[in-house]
Subunit: 245 residues, 2 copies
Amino acid sequence: MTGKGRAPADGARRRPAVTLDALVRAGLVVLERDGLDALSMRSVAAELGVRAPSLYWHVRDKEELLDLLADGLLGIGVPALPPVRGDWRVELRDLAWAFRSFLNRRRDSVRVLMGRFPSGPGMAAVMEHQLAMLDRAGFGRQDAAYITYGLSTLVTGFVYGEQRPISAAVVAGVPVREAVTAIGDTIAAFPADTYPHLVATARELTGPHIDERFEFILERFLDGLAVLPRNPKRDGGGTTAAEDV
Amino acid sequence: MTGKGRAPADGARRRPAVTLDALVRAGLVVLERDGLDALSMRSVAAELGVRAPSLYWHVRDKEELLDLLADGLLGIGVPALPPVRGDWRVELRDLAWAFRSFLNRRRDSVRVLMGRFPSGPGMAAVMEHQLAMLDRAGFGRQDAAYITYGLSTLVTGFVYGEQRPISAAVVAGVPVREAVTAIGDTIAAFPADTYPHLVATARELTGPHIDERFEFILERFLDGLAVLPRNPKRDGGGTTAAEDV
DNA sequence: AGACAACAACTAACACTGTTAGGGAGCGAC
DNA sequence: GTCGCTCCCTAACAGTGTTAGTTGTTGTCT
């Protein structure tokens, strides 16, 4: 640093108690320890030993803070990226599972990430990793862009939906399994003459096979990618259309 | 005279002024007119000519009200369901586009629906429609359940992500198109030596081709469904495994 | 007719929330 | 010194979801 001239003389002039970096780190601590609902300007400020209005010097909004936290979360997830293997399909699958697992492990991360398009180093690292892999597999630039976006949408959306009934059950003190089957009971109790297919599918719709459900949706998407035309580059990826079902 | 309290005269004041149905209808009115951020217990109560705490007689939570609103939204969308055509793929595609269009037209509906699994008549109608179609096409029960869930996750997640930058731009008074390309500029400005693929894909990642992006993701998923085994039932839908790519 | 329970609204209040206005220390530069 | 900048402070506002306790109305049973 020690920027010259135009930079607003930021050379260790008065060590600020709150830097943008410390702010993000404190926010992540609060998020992980107390959850998103307890993450207020005041609680994050308290984590820094400071009062709430001070944060507005570093950040315009709570929204902006959340945007930064979203990117910070991605930055945390980056070291957990699965190592590079040979097959693009295996890699993409591993990546999706790893992402889902991360979202489920890191408290409320999915609620912060949902609908946000972070534009910091965290997002850059994840995207670069993924785009490089897809390029290596021979996907075109536009396709690769769509694929990364689609995959992140898919996983994020899935985990978001997967976590809501769970947290609701936890709040009510009901075991998750019973809460889920309770929804099934509700559906099964619908009038079978007007909703025959729905009632017949009640169990399949609400079954606790959450991993299988994720697997199904993901594999269908990957199947769709497999029939996409690719440039025959180095490392074609090995698999053709459908290998497992 | 001696007006009975502040009762507005000739109405059946003590008749149930608030029914659960009226509550939901009022909530939908407020949601459409003022948006989700302005939908508070007080504002919905005001819409009914009533004070906020009264709502707690009919509803445990704001959460429960939102659950009801979610189902109400689906109920509104039901008449807009596309008519039945022959090919399951065409039907599923039409349905996804119609759902996306509905979510984009009906204010903040995606924020209400996201992550919620409504359990009322609105959800029942949508599900029945979809499950019947999939059954007619020969998909198994479990597959059909996964497909409906996956499709709704996909569309909802996509629209959620699609609407956030738009609303942010609207708030800031910036045209949407410029706001989106601004993100592209940010990404393009990343160090190209550490993030070569990312920088090279900046335009493709943030291009305003939002419809094409949706189409790509959806069609990939449908491609994945096309290679799924199906029972040869009545009305196979005309297509076998893979017809168009 | 009178009593009683039920329903369904009310007022008042609590503990929070995000956010703004304005004040004032500590510092570098003139 | 006196600017002026940075960065945190106190005070306050308008609004939130939600609970407690109260009051009035209605239908039913005696």
